[in-house]
Symmetry: C2
Subunit: 264 residues, 2 copies
DNA sequence: AACGTTCCCTGTCATTTGACATAGCAGCGC
DNA sequence: GCGCTGCTATGTCAAATGACAGGGAACGTT
């Protein structure tokens, strides 16, 4: 309980995030190196990044990595696992903003503002690579390539949020679900989390509802309808899309322009 | 009509955007210098920026600055006026993503990807400061301060989109409208477009509807309700909020952390 | 075995929002 | 004056979505 506060800052131990203080030497075994969907840096740049690495943190499902309104000491790159960004209203309503996959960078807002505008929670057991917030711009601005990559990630995150806004504003419940399922499965494919096209990820219907701005009950019924239609088979622990192209058409998603994502 | 294509690329003349080829010498009279809501660079940095400036473009209300899916040769900083980013679905549905005010940077997605994921349309007569897309990273990465500012702008745009997602997902029609009105008036105050707290900007109810994901009819009724309640008086050419704090409470917006925005 | 928890599912009814049809009103060119 | 056009306003009805209440399966703990 004395540790309770630390969990909010990425410093928690044991029960709420386990910090392992080890430096860049571990970067040779970086699990992201095997990920086919990512753009890998030149050795020189990788070593530059490694020199800033502070260690590694683990969180279990349900644990909070960042808490809205706090000033975290560390920023992270996701090494493995899946997380979600959420935003709370004072009256308890919750909106899930987006999901984060291996290679994604966590805490950009804190990097420029000091303070987080949203919370981040682990959806699976996750491993994160930690950098000191105060060193971040030293890390990034002194390597033009990293500065570019950071901007790339920010611009693409913006594009993902745009797509989500289109969903919430223009698509009905079923279209939204299909759009979300396609997005998740696609990211799963890119990061090796969806062997044989089935994403193994446990998302509750309550979480889907909070992501799509629907009630839990309506979410449930719409999911059943999609299952009957054979478009998306979304179960608690997995998402299966029999025909990705057809699902795309149904949700009126345009073709995904497959480019390699950079990471830091 | 031979010029038709150029309008999509920021090169149009006369009827669709008027390009004035003049360089950094005009930067001494930059209209943004008078804007109190902005963070102004040191002389040295301003001159560095000026050396990249390619000229100035004007667009009238209704003209498209960028068209979704095209590769624009220029990127812009807004010098005066207001614009909106929109995204179209194949079946004609339109979602307005956000509004842009003086000091905002246009075309970040094109800067990293080459291609625009959305369109940008002028809501008033606007003046834009043009940079070559191909020179952009030279401009930004060789000045750590500019690299920081660009990231700052991207992170804050992301935060604005988050807030919009919360609106679309969790707030009902009236709350959404109040939230949008507060956002617009606040940005108007920061950029000198809202003398005496009344934002002079013509936004049609159809545009409000496309921004908030509501039907035109429902938008109309909700606007009337808000007028009756005395919360927001939104007319075709102006937005007035009698009590900003009360409006914030109504829409459950948390206090805006007033910081100076950088610009490039 | 009994219990508590978490999640998925269903029924019924209320509310919100949308669709369609129509009217008014200001501006504008002629 | 007239006929346009773009925007705002209303009425009526239908569809989408939410609120509330409760049941049942799976699973871990005692």
């Amino acid at each position: 309980m004395a540790r309770d506060d630390e969990s909010a800052t990425g410093l928690g131990h044991a029960d709420m995030g386990h910090f392992v203080r080890n430096g860049g030497e571990r970067c040779r075994e970086c699990p992201l190196a095997e990920c086919s969907g990512l753009h890998h840096h030149a050795l020189e740049v990788r070593e530059w990044i490694a020199s800033f690495r502070k260690g590694e943190v683990h969180y279990d499902r349900g644990e909070q990595v960042f808490v809205q309104g706090t000033r975290p000491p560390y920023l992270f790159t996701v090494l493995s696992g899946v997380l979600m960004r959420t935003r709370l209203l004072e009256d308890g309503r919750r909106q899930i903003i987006n999901f984060m996959f291996p290679g994604d960078f966590l805490g950009l807002q804190a990097a420029v503002d000091g303070e987080m505008g949203h919370s981040v929670e682990a959806l699976t057991r996750v491993t994160l690579c930690a950098f000191a917030r105060t060193q971040f711009f030293e890390l990034v601005t002194q390597q033009p390539r990293l500065s570019f990559d950071l901007t790339w990630l920010a611009a693409h995150e913006e594009a993902a949020l745009e797509e989500h806004i289109v969903s919430l504003g223009q698509r009905n419940a079923r279209e939204r679900m299909v759009a979300l399922a396609v997005f998740l499965v696609q990211r799963g494919l890119d990061t090796g989390l969806a062997p044989e096209g089935v994403l193994q990820l446990t998302v509750t219907q309550g979480q889907i509802a909070d992501m799509l701005g629907l009630s839990l009950v309506h979410t449930n019924r719409s999911l059943q309808a999609l299952r009957r239609l054979g478009l998306v088979d979304w179960k608690l622990t997995s998402i299966r899309i029999p025909d990705l192209a057809e699902a795309r058409r149904f949700a009126r998603l345009d073709g995904s322009s497959q480019t390699l994502r950079p990471y830091i």
